[in-house]
Symmetry: C2
Subunit: 142 residues, 2 copies
């Protein structure tokens, strides 16, 4: 059976150069040498790869219609404190992102905010005091 | 600076029970005891957590409009062979997914197909002969 595993998350982008600039130069993420032509790859420390690929080509590759907008998927990074939520959201803005939800206390007892990358992909930066991070890795109870 | 890390991917769903059934019962993925109320969590072996959450609440949480459809994000699992591509797509269909792209040879020299989960989230199952998997983990050259 298919393992509970994601190996790659691909974000469709309208301007690959701008997107690479945001993640590589703005956030300082390491662009992989496997990047070539229309596709950019980043090895994430979480053990998965993030790819950037032109959105029309991504839709075509998946045989999907694309009317733009939100697709019901969010990405999150859990961090160690409320201060980190604020710092990382500010870093994202400096890198060319925009805040879509300013950091605030959440219904579930944490503290979080959202930024959008240059293509509008939503990232939550969250501090969840009752979740344990082990070297940055979130491992929930079995 | 913000690390190159994703800790949680959240998929918006229209029917939480159906979605949990697909991933837990259909694919056999381990539902975490941290799941409660409107949210279901799965610890993935890739070192991240996948969450399922009602799509309208997810859009509201991220302060985004949601017109439905594709959002320009795909999830992929790289596997070890062409046979595994076919097996895992069949498993996904048996679990309640549907094929959106039958397995076929790709422009980039691999073999892949896509299925959609019950909420339409696109998953690619891909065999990329020139990418190395180390215990299932895809690590691209730096």
């Amino acid at each position: 059976m298919m393992e509970p595993r994601i190996t790659i998350i691909t974000l469709g982008v309208s301007d690959l150069e701008r997107a690479v600039k945001f993640y590589r130069d703005g956030l300082g993420w390491p662009l992989s040498q496997a990047s070539a032509g229309d596709i950019a790859f980043f090895n994430l420390v979480s053990g998965i790869v993030m790819a950037l690929y032109p959105r029309p080509l991504l839709a075509r590759d998946a045989c999907l219609e694309d009317n733009g907008g939100f697709g019901g998927i969010t990405l999150a990074q859990n961090v160690e404190s409320e201060e980190e939520v604020e710092t990382f959201l500010s870093d994202a803005v400096r890198a060319g992102g925009r805040i879509i939800k300013p950091p605030s206390r959440t219904e579930w007892g944490g503290y979080s905010g959202y930024f959008a990358d240059p293509d509008g992909h939503p990232w939550e930066i969250a501090y969840a005091p009752f979740f344990t991070l082990e070297n940055g890795v979130l491992v929930l109870p079995e």
